[in-house]
């Protein structure tokens, strides 16, 4: 039971460690018996460990709701009651999470960004699989949308997903603030090259020995979003793409990102620059503070 504090549940200081351990053990025993539905008198250690982590997560939710005031006693019935209070607190969070998901889903419907949609689908599966009764600290879905910085790994269960959803929504808010005429404002004259000139430029870029020459040539020649898009898709590979993208302004990067999202689902460039762009944008964006840090 020494792991309770590490799992986020630090019960009242008015009780000594032995009392707390006995109370937690009894509560865990009851949870394990219910989980096994009377069919098994033993469980694998890993399962017990997960049950205990969940138990501490639920108790922490209850404790927080009570302003971290200590319970009157550690008697089994009192602890059971505390546990169920924690469950109710988590149910409220789940309800709020479903509401955030609905908003994120509505955003996703309007987008062609497959990565975003995939992230939303995964969060949907979280709500389908989330076992609030026994494994409330688990995150039963893939959460690999690349935020920068990443979602705090110390968060668990629904707390993690709420933060994940807030980040997804926040990201969309930022990207949707691109004004309609941004393309003309951001690119100096937005004059596209004709096809022949563009082919020559791509060939010349391919012949550059040094990256600095390549970047300088691109900087001189590119004046439109569509040309930048073509050149990135044909002449800048790997770190070269990142280097070129780094010469663009935040607004230019946003326009490029929007252009990528307008491509059909599943589109990928030959050079893969769009992945570099995504990473770069997140790095530039930096930390985003959640609105209601309940975790």
């Amino acid at each position: 039971m020494e792991g309770a504090t590490e799992r986020g549940y630090a019960p009242a200081k008015r009780f000594d460690d032995a009392e707390i351990q006995r109370a937690l053990w009894e509560l865990l025993r009851r949870r394990a018996v219910r989980y096994a539905k009377g069919e098994s008198s033993s469980l694998p250690n890993e399962r017990v460990n997960s049950l205990f982590t969940s138990l501490c997560f639920v108790l922490r939710a209850a404790s927080r709701a009570k302003g971290f005031t200590p319970p009157d006693s550690l008697e089994p019935d009192v602890m059971e009651s505390l546990f169920w209070q924690g469950e109710r607190e988590l149910e409220k969070k789940v309800k709020f999470g479903r509401e955030l998901l609905r908003l994120a889903h509505a955003h996703g419907q309007r987008l062609k960004n497959e990565e975003y949609r995939y992230a939303i689908a995964e969060v949907e599966s979280f709500f389908a699989r989330y076992d609030i009764l026994y494994f409330a600290a688990d995150i039963p879905c893939m959460v690999d949308y690349p935020f920068s910085p990443p979602v705090d790994e110390s968060l668990s269960g629904i707390d993690y997903i709420l933060e994940y959803l807030r980040r997804l929504l926040k990201e969309r808010e930022i990207e949707e603030y691109i004004p309609e005429n941004a393309e003309n404002i951001i690119f100096s004259d937005n004059a596209r090259m004709d096809d022949e000139a563009l082919r020559r430029l791509i060939a010349e870029l391919g012949e550059c020995r040094h990256l600095s020459d390549k970047l300088a040539l691109a900087g001189r020649a590119l004046h439109s979003l569509s040309d930048a898009f073509e050149v990135l898709s044909s002449a800048f590979w790997g770190d070269e793409a990142t280097a070129l993208l780094n010469t663009f302004s935040e607004g230019e990067l946003l326009l490029l990102a929007r252009a990528v999202k307008e491509k059909p689902a599943g589109w990928h460039s030959a050079t893969g620059w769009e992945n570099r762009l995504l990473k770069l944008q997140r790095e530039k964006r930096g930390a985003i503070s959640p609105k209601t840090p309940e975790a």
């Binding site: 020494e2 025993r29 394990a32 008198s41 033993s42 694998p44 205990f52």
Partner: protein, 148 residues
């Protein structure tokens, strides 16, 4: 799992020993009893078996149920009784893990009993060589010859 100990507390050991002692009432009808020393050994072995199989127990353990299921077996004598229980206990936790807990305690004991009385003819060595699949299929009335 460092937070929990597989070793039983003194109170748990006493409770387990008392429960095994009570089982003597049933098994003695078939000429089988456990001495206090044997009971103590079985209780200690239970913690060992749980540790070896990476499991934790929340109830009274499997031994009382194993005694109830096996005490009328013609293959068990007073001389072999305690050792048989030790091996049955080990097998029980082994198969429990193998089944990934998809089989209840009662079902598993029933399968073990069916095979022990059937194709194993009381041979624990034979039973220890069975896979879970063989145990379950055999006990459900499958063709033993096909299995062995």
């Amino acid at each position: 799992m460092n937070e929990f100990s597989n070793s039983l507390s003194i109170a748990q050991k006493k409770a387990a020993a008392a429960e095994l002692s009570r089982c003597n009432e049933l098994s003695s009808r078939f000429g089988l009893t456990l001495s206090d020393e044997q009971i103590e050994e079985l209780v200690s072995a239970r913690a060992g078996a749980l540790g070896d199989t990476g499991r934790m127990e929340f109830g009274g353990g499997a031994l009382p149920k194993l005694i109830e299921a096996f005490c009328d077996s013609a293959y068990i004598t007073q001389e072999s009784y305690a050792d048989t229980l030790l091996e049955l206990q080990d097998s029980f936790y082994y198969f429990k893990n193998e089944s990934e807990d998809s089989i209840s305690d009662d079902e598993l004991i029933e399968y073990m009993r069916d095979m022990f009385e059937g194709v194993c003819a009381g041979s624990l060595e034979y039973m220890s060589q069975l896979t879970l699949d063989e145990l379950c299929r055999g006990a459900r009335g499958g063709d033993y010859k096909e299995l062995f």
